[in-house]
């Protein structure tokens, strides 16, 4: 279970640089599949890792799928020394990815993303093309199961709204909050 609004708000308010990937990204594009967590690809620069830690720390992050008595503290050093983390937090399960299969790190994920307004917040979300590339590269059975639908979704977008290009069908919603990408002054 994941509180999307709460999680995205926390990350955006802390001006964490991230791209929404995985099932939540696919759902935001319109794929009617169930997912239980929020997957993000985060920028591994030092300042962003510190923002990420500050944002998540009040949510009491702990590693998911390990026995509780194992010591774990999500701090900047832990993230810098690792890459991907599957976390349970007070707002639900949030997975942090330093790299995405078939895409690369944050910069590549950002280049392969579209800006969508989610709960009034402008967020970078992996594009349908990006999702297709990552799922082809990951090639796990669960990825390959959703691939035909994502490819169909991309094609539907180009057929129904050709003026938008291959970005799918995104209906308008106004921005109320901060962007996930800090401006040059940050």
């Amino acid at each position: 279970m994941i509180n999307f609004l709460g999680s995205l708000r926390v990350l955006c308010n802390a001006q964490v640089r991230f791209v929404v990937i995985g099932g939540a990204a696919a759902s935001a594009h319109g794929l009617p599949h169930l997912t239980y967590d929020l997957d993000i690809c985060y920028d591994r620069s030092r300042d962003n890792i510190e923002r990420l830690v500050s944002a998540l720390d009040p949510l009491h992050p702990r590693l998911r799928g390990v026995v509780n008595h194992l010591p774990f503290r999500l701090d900047a050093a832990t993230i810098a020394n690792g890459m991907n983390f599957t976390l349970s937090t007070d707002l639900g399960d949030i997975d942090l990815f330093g790299e995405v299969s078939g895409i690369g790190g944050y910069e590549e994920a950002k280049t392969s993303s579209v800006n969508l307004v989610l709960y009034g917040l402008e967020c970078a979300v992996l594009s349908l093309d990006g999702l297709i590339r990552s799922k082809r590269a990951a090639a796990r059975p669960k990825d390959l199961l959703t691939l035909p639908e994502i490819e169909a979704l991309r094609e539907i977008g180009t057929q129904v709204k050709p003026e938008l290009g291959p970005v799918g069908i995104q209906n308008h919603e106004s921005v109320r909050g901060k962007r996930s990408e800090p401006g040059p002054s940050d």
Binding site: M1, I2, N3, F4, A24, S27, A28, H29, G30, L31, P32, L34, T35, Y36, L116, V117, L118, Y119, G120, V125, P148, E149, E151, A152, L153, R154, E155, I156, Q159, V160, K161, I169, Q170, N171, H172, E173
Partner: protein, 70 residues
Amino acid sequence: MTREERDKLIRLISSPPPGSKIAAAKEFGADLTLLVSTLELTPTERLERLADAQEFVREWQAAMKTSAHD
């Protein structure tokens, strides 16, 4: 999505062009009719619908657990 776009979407899903990705997905077994309603929503509404589905599953699992103990 406008009414014309919706109609076009329904036509595409009902009779996808041979050799298209839409036809391939249909052949694969995907129920593309579910896309009609999700594509009418905003991205936020899609995530809200997903959250509702998560909640339904959670309640269902809780009910199953309770009935198993009865």
